[in-house]
């Protein structure tokens, strides 16, 4: 790959891409972004070359070398640009906790997120309950800290906050209200959105909802 410097292969609606954008912004790293036209209709030759295994965004290309998988990219960014705004917690135990929760959330949302958006009836209801159970666990983990990282905005905050732009979509499809169910978590969402890196990276939730409807139509899901 010829790309020099830092290039991010992305698509505007991907929360996994948003994770990387937030991290790059917090670290003040200059980067070029290359947006896929529509990730649901086809993938660019560059994306297929950079991520032949999963063919997904985000991919960070740093001096011609591709790094795939958003969590992986966050850890890479933190190690390479270690003098600016540390993302990972300092202590190995705290790191392990953050990594555990990211792994937990990613496995959950991959299946549950899709079912809340695309299913109906009992399957959708089960997905909704699973989602709310998971959010409550996260709210418990947050406790009364301002961020998951404690006083400092860090890895777990960066990994989770992008999904907040999908909350309106989930709430609307599955009929629930997160302000009532997870008030502390929603306070954390608002606090994170005060950061420029987050407000720049996250699209408007209504735009996400409309796109969700459009994709359903495109894929023939009723």
């Amino acid at each position: 790959m010829e790309e020099e410097g830092v290039v991010l292969l992305e698509f505007w609606s991907s929360p996994y891409v948003m994770r990387v954008k937030i991290a790059l912004e917090e670290k003040g790293i200059q980067f070029l972004y290359k947006e896929e036209e529509n990730i649901f209709l086809g993938k660019s030759p560059l994306l297929l070359e950079a991520n032949p295994i999963y063919k997904k965004v985000p991919v960070l290309i740093h001096n011609g070398k591709p790094i795939c998988e958003s969590h992986n990219i966050l850890e890479y960014i933190d190690q390479v640009w270690k003098d600016k705004f540390p993302i990972l917690p300092h202590h190995p135990y705290e790191r392990a906790r953050s990594r555990f929760w990211i792994d937990f959330f990613d496995k959950m949302i991959y299946d549950i997120g899709r079912r809340m958006w695309a299913s109906k009836g009992e399957d959708q209801e089960d997905a909704k309950q699973e989602f709310l159970k998971s959010l409550k666990l996260l709210e418990e983990e947050l406790g009364d800290k301002p961020y998951f990282g404690g006083g400092q905005f860090g890895l777990l905050d960066i990994a989770l906050i992008p999904f907040s732009c999908r909350f309106y979509t989930y709430e609307t499809f599955c009929k629930f209200n997160l302000e009532k169910i997870c008030p502390n978590l929603m306070k954390w969402v608002n606090k994170c959105n005060e950061r420029e890196s987050v407000s720049k990276a996250l699209p408007n939730p209504y735009k996400v909802y409309d796109f969700g409807l459009e994709v359903k139509k495109m894929l023939g899901i009723e």
Binding site: I67, E69, N72, Y76, Y93, F100, D103
Partner: protein, 224 residues
């Protein structure tokens, strides 16, 4: 404070093996607590209330869950015999392939276990394709970690044990020496390593266990 390490595991868990290998390489003493997953102990539920799964490593009463997370924790806490590469790009590659092993490779190997006939042929082809991708990561090294066993060797270690068990059950080679020469050699090198070779779970018990897991899927096809 004296270090206290406890490992909650089952006798057969391939993911627990990862933790055992890492602890052995680092020369760390630990206590083993065997769990019966059909009747989980109060301690396990206390240490891993979210997933309620093994393995869990408890270090001075602080629990760490998920085997790949545990590997990184061990490597960051005890600096001797480093497991992960130092170079950020190589580290990212190692983590990527470890996850590939847990996702794509594991599910393709599971499909080999639960199918027969034409479906087994297709499942085998897919598993071999995934194994080829992993073999490419070896390049011409003895181990994924280079001259010595590292993170990715440990992450893939479960394949060495499980694949040989599977091959016996389905009476078919999955890792053919001719088609996957480097991977074949790696499996032998890994198994022969003094740290690894005494750690395998009892083979006859493993065969019985996986045979029993396969049975219901074969019966389902017959009764259709």
């Amino acid at each position: 404070m004296a270090e206290e390490l406890k490992l909650f595991r089952t006798w057969s868990s391939p993911f627990a093996l990862r933790v055992i290998h890492a602890l052995k390489i680092k020369g760390l003493e630990y206590e083993t607590i065997f769990e019966d997953l059909s009747s989980k102990s109060a301690s396990l539920l206390q240490y891993n209330p979210v997933n309620k799964k093994v393995p869990v490593l408890v270090h001075n009463e602080k629990p760490v869950c998920e085997s790949l997370v545990i590997l990184e924790y061990i490597d960051e806490t005890w600096k001797q015999c480093p497991l992960l590469p130092r170079d950020p790009y190589e580290k990212a590659e190692a983590r990527f392939w470890a996850k590939f092993g847990d996702e794509k490779l594991l599910s393709s190997i599971w499909n080999v276990l639960i199918t027969q006939g034409k479906q087994l042929e297709e499942a085998t082809a897919e598993a071999v394709q995934n194994l080829k991708l992993i073999e490419e990561q070896l390049k011409d090294k003895k181990f994924f970690g280079g001259e010595t066993i590292g993170y990715l060797d440990i992450a893939f270690g479960w394949t060495v044990n499980l694949i040989s068990i599977l091959e016996e059950i389905i009476d078919q080679k999955l890792v053919d020496e001719e088609k996957l020469p480097l991977l074949s050699a790696w499996m032998q090198n890994f198994s022969d390593d003094p740290v690894i070779k005494d750690c395998w779970p009892p083979r006859d018990k493993m065969i019985a266990k996986y045979q029993a897991m396969r049975e219901p899927y074969l019966k389902k096809v017959v009764s259709q």
